[in-house]
Amino acid sequence: MKGVQILNFMGSSKLRVLVHKDMEDINVKDSVDIVLTPQFYTFLREDLEIKFAYQAKKIAPAFFDDYLNAGVEHQYHVYKHSNEWYFFAYSVEEITTFLEERGLSSHQIGKIYFVQELEKRLESPMELGETMVMQTLEGTVTLLPKRLLSREIEYQSLNLQKEKFQNGIALSSSYDSIVPFKETALLSTLLFFLGSFFLFEGERGRSSIESLEVSQTELLEQYPKLSSSLQRNSEMKKYTKIDREERVKREALMQVSKMISNSNRLKSLVLNEKSITATIKIDSPVAMRKLKKLAKKRSFTLLNESAKEISVEKKL
């Protein structure tokens, strides 16, 4: 593959491809990192009192105002080298279109590097296709026509896989996204944990009724006939009715027994499903008044009353 520097023996696990206009077609299936030559970027260096790269990136477009074609959308990359800030302007659209013509799909592009990183390595010239030469002039990697250089000059060869690149940028993050990569990572992590927390809470809620279900199952195993709600309701009606009626009868009997004291005695007591009637003999008018008061308090009605006898009744 003449003109295309591909080697994969050492260093990065991904292939690196030097991108220039005279490069030949690329025939790879895996993704590759690309190293841009000055044909695909505009480079500026500035000595600025700026601390952070994101600040430099914000002002980058202003530096390139006079150098770039306004009709083309450009992306910017910035990094600090020694005391200077290196600014790069490039067009992803232009690069991907060109590489697709050379057989490399955009999804195969991993990281983008700039050959400017090899400024020291390119102090002596390197051939770039049939007509061009790449060389560092005054600290900037530049392309020159081969004809300007002496014919006896010896060109160096370059193994990109062995070279150390530090300032790459992923194709996906090269666009000027509304949400920058760092914020995306942070927000994504937060959202992921929030979502996972909700899922966990939902699942925890579901498992919280397990103990209740166990107690219900145990109870049903003990009383299998009560598993049907219809059966339960029917039994409940039957026994609640008996329970209520019999408690009322017994309570009424207890109330009559409490009315009996030393100053009176029971003459008769009749209890049936509907009422309870008691006739009590009384020795004195004082005891009579007391008994009448007590009977009234306990919701008994007076049926008959004579000087020494009283009949009271209570509906059940």
Binding site: S106, E201, I209, L220, L253
Partner: protein
């Protein structure tokens, strides 16, 4: 949408998908809590019903009553038991000439035994003497 466009908006797409994930998981949590709450009420009601019915059934248990019934015959001397007829879940008992103490004893037992008191008739037959008749069912 081309692959390039997807790559271009990759960050926004990731956030959008994660927001969908958060929305889905929130909905899942919300619906799980709602269904758990109603399921809890349903189970609690069912457990409470079963327990109550079981409790009532045990309280008004026929087998227990059958055992207790025979005691009404032996609580007082045989001479005072004029009738003691027990058949198909029904008892008719008639006592004559009971003392106050005996009357109280039978009455207490009557109240404490878990059967239906259909009829009770107590009549004074002399000084501190009583006749008693009752019918109960179970």
């Amino acid at each position: 949408m081309s692959l390039m466009s997807l790559k271009r908006f990759q960050n926004e797409l990731i956030i959008f998908l994660l927001l969908l994930f958060v929305g889905f998981s929130f909905f899942y949590k919300f619906s799980a809590e709602k269904s758990v709450a109603s399921k809890k009420i349903e189970i609690k009601e069912s457990v409470s019903e079963i327990s109550k019915v079981a409790e009532l059934k045990i309280f008004w248990d026929k087998k227990k009553v059958k055992k207790e019934i025979t005691k009404f015959k032996t609580m007082v001397s045989k001479a005072k038991v004029k009738r003691f007829e027990k058949r198909s879940g029904k008892l008719v008992a008639i006592y004559k000439n009971l003392s106050l103490k005996e009357l109280n004893k039978i009455s207490k037992k009557l109240v404490a035994t878990h059967f239906k008191i259909s009829k009770l008739n107590i009549q004074e037959s002399g000084k501190d003497r009583y006749d008693m008749e009752f019918t109960c069912k179970w």
